[in-house]
Structure formats: structure tokens, C-alpha cells
């Protein structure tokens, strides 16, 4: 004789929820098919930033980042970007400035070693051109940042080039504390440009 386990009221609720789970998953089956997943070739990819110092521009780059790209122009709904940037790898070709950028007043690398960009909403913005609407997180502060990019796939479909740009306001993320909140000598706007070499 089989004895059903005795269930308390809470147990019944949990059991009901568990039983409902497959139904919920079925209801969410409108989740789009994931788009083509690409591998980023680090050696031929770059993320650069251009800031303004005393009214003049200077450009630096992030030496280390990981970009997980799932993108297909024919499946924008299933496309995803997840980019992790090591903030401590900011390289502006000047050791003093790089140390300052890694320090507490800027990226505070010891506390927030990574900046991330995550996007799951994509829209076409012209021939071969797209816009991602995602969230950029720096110093633990997330902000909506649109990224405009082009995507060019090779004829064989095995490799592609994804390049684009964005504009951010460093102070939205607290990059520049104390006296560096003053934008007279160090501008607020930072332009970002990236080139990703993709392979699959």
C-alpha cells in the first residue's frame, strides 16, 4: 500500500508551484531561439575610448576584455551581447594616467575590477547597421547605453566583423570622484569605439 507523503499547507503550495513549472515554461516558449554564438578573436579585436583633457582629445584602449556575442541579423530577437571589460587594463600609453584611472577616484579597480555591457534588445538602424539597447555597468552603477554598430559577415558565414561606437558620460558612473567631478579639465563625455573579430 502506497502512502502519499503527508504535506503541510505550505508543502501543498510548493507542490502546486512545482507542478505548475512545466506549464510556465511552456507559456514562455515564445523565448526566441538563440542567435548564432560567435567566438571573439581577442588578438584582432579592440575597445578604445576617447576622452577630453584640457580641451584636447586623447585615446586609450582596454587591453583585456571578453565579449560573448550571439548575433544574427535575421534573428535580432535571439541576439545577445555580454561584454566584460577589465577596468584595470585601461592603457593610455602613460603610466601615471593609467595608475590614476585604476585608482579609487576613477575605476576603483580593487573594488570593481570589471565593467560589463549587456544587451538583449536589438533594432535595425540602416543597411548592415544596428542598434543595441543595453546596460553598461561601471563601478556597480548600471545605465542604459545604446550602442550603434555594423555587422559584416564573410561569404562563408564562418567569420564576421562587428564594429561600433557609443557615447557615455563618465560622471553617470562616478568615474571621477572629488575634484575630478569638475569637467572643465577632464570632460564628462567619453566616446567608445570597438572592433570585434568574430569566428564560429
Amino acid at each position: 500500500m502506497t502512502h502519499w507523503p503527508r504535506l503541510s499547507a505550505l508543502g501543498w503550495v510548493l507542490a502546486a508551484l512545482l507542478a505548475a513549472t512545466p506549464a510556465r515554461a511552456a507559456a514562455a516558449s515564445t523565448t526566441p531561439t538563440p542567435a548564432t554564438a560567435w567566438t571573439t578573436v581577442a588578438a584582432s579585436s579592440s575597445i578604445e575610448f576617447t576622452g577630453t583633457l584640457a580641451g584636447g582629445e586623447f585615446t586609450g584602449k582596454f587591453q583585456r576584455f571578453v565579449a560573448a556575442i550571439a548575433f544574427d541579423p535575421a534573428n535580432l530577437a535571439g541576439s545577445r551581447f555580454r561584454v566584460e571589460i577589465e577596468t584595470g587594463s585601461a592603457d593610455t600609453a602613460d603610466a601615471d594616467r593609467d595608475v590614476a584611472l585604476a585608482g579609487d577616484e576613477f575605476f576603483a579597480v580593487s573594488r570593481w575590477p570589471k565593467a560589463t555591457y549587456e544587451a538583449s534588445q536589438f533594432a535595425a538602424a540602416g543597411p548592415g547597421q544596428y542598434q543595441a539597447r543595453g546596460k553598461l555597468t561601471i563601478r556597480g552603477i548600471a545605465r542604459d547605453v545604446p550602442v550603434t554598430f555594423t555587422f559584416k559577415s564573410n561569404a562563408d558565414g564562418r567569420s564576421a566583423a562587428l564594429s561600433g561606437r557609443a557615447s557615455v558620460h563618465r560622471l553617470d558612473f562616478g568615474v571621477g570622484q572629488g575634484e575630478w567631478q569638475d569637467t572643465k579639465w577632464l570632460g564628462d563625455e567619453v566616446r567608445i569605439r570597438f572592433e570585434l573579430a568574430l569566428r564560429r
Binding site: 583633457l53 584640457a54 580641451g55 582629445e57 600609453a93 602613460d94 601615471d96
Partner: protein, 186 residues
């Protein structure tokens, strides 16, 4: 006002450029010495930026000065003096013209080598003279300091010679370069 040089006097433009460059170069030394005392921060950044802007202004004025000198053939008649003094004066002047060009240029290249922008008071950005390169930056920094020392020595000898002519020889060497249209004694 006499803009061009005359046979016995420098014109207003040559005088203006000469003395403006003198004042700016002295200011440059004061600005950068003060900046070097400051800790890294906004104030130091603003001081160094000022030094760079004034340096680019000196470069533009130096080009104008040399251009005007070349365009302005009628230089004042040389004051009679021994041949060796004429040669020394010409060499000194040549060296000073060269240095007021090389000093800002070396500073500009030094900033470019460290990937720092060079502007004219933020109104206009000059292109980078060289690609970022750490060792080149160190070398150019050294050069910028050595050139300043040479320029300071040559300028002091130049000023001492003018004072010598004025007080000992009692000739018009200094007077004809003095500002505010002072007429040299006939």
C-alpha cells in the same frame, strides 16, 4: 607708429614680438616650476595645460618673428663694433631664433609621445607630432630641459651684451629694441 624696422631702430612689430616672447618664456619657467611642486590632480593638470598652451603661443609668435624678420629686409644698420662681436651677436641671435622654435616643438613632441593632447587654450587641438612611445617621451623630456638650459644661458649672454653696450659702450644697441617707440639718440 613705425611698424617696420628703420635704419637705426627696430619697428613696433619686431619689438612687440621680441618682448612678448621674452615675457612668455619667463612665465613658462614660473608656470612649470610651480606645477612640479603640485601633487597629481586637477590643479596640476590645469597648470601643465597652461604651460602647453603658452608654449604653443610662443611657437606661433616665434614663427611670426622669424617670418617678419625675413620679410623685413631693412634691419637697423649694425652699430660699429669689433668683428668678433658682430660674429658672436649673429651666432647668438641665430641660436636664439632656433631655440625659440625647438623648445616649443620639443615640448609638443614630448606631450604627443605621452599621448597627451596639445591645444591652444582649449580652442584648437594640434595634431600629435609623434606616436605614443614611452622611451621617446623620456628622451624628449630630457631634451626639453637641456634646451631650456642652453636657451637660458644664451639669452643671459644676449641680455648681458645689450647691457654692456648700453652702459659701457653707451651706444644704441639696447635702446633701439626698447619698447614704446623710444627714439634712439641720434
Amino acid at each position: 607708429m613705425q611698424w617696420r624696422n628703420t635704419t637705426n631702430n627696430y619697428g613696433a612689430l619686431a619689438k612687440f614680438l621680441h618682448w612678448t616672447i621674452v615675457i612668455l618664456i619667463i612665465a613658462q619657467y614660473v608656470i612649470i616650476e610651480a606645477a612640479e611642486e603640485l601633487p597629481d590632480g586637477v590643479e596640476k593638470l590645469s597648470q601643465v595645460s597652461l604651460h602647453k598652451s603658452v608654449g604653443m603661443l610662443v611657437l606661433l609668435l616665434a614663427i611670426a618673428r622669424i617670418g617678419w624678420k625675413l620679410a623685413n629686409r631693412g634691419n637697423p644698420v649694425p652699430i660699429p663694433m669689433p668683428g668678433w662681436q658682430k660674429k658672436a651677436a649673429a651666432a647668438g641671435h641665430g641660436l636664439l631664433y632656433l631655440l625659440i622654435l625647438l623648445q616649443p616643438l620639443s615640448g609638443w613632441a614630448m606631450s604627443s609621445a605621452a599621448n597627451y593632447p596639445v591645444t591652444l587654450f582649449g580652442w584648437f587641438q594640434f595634431p600629435a607630432l609623434v606616436a605614443p612611445n614611452h622611451d621617446l617621451h623620456e628622451g624628449l623630456e630630457e631634451l626639453h630641459e637641456v634646451l631650456f638650459t642652453i636657451m637660458a644661458i644664451v639669452a643671459l649672454v644676449h641680455a648681458a651684451a645689450a647691457i654692456y653696450h648700453h652702459f659701457w659702450m653707451k651706444d644704441d644697441t639696447l635702446r633701439r629694441m626698447l619698447p614704446f617707440g623710444r627714439k634712439p639718440a641720434a
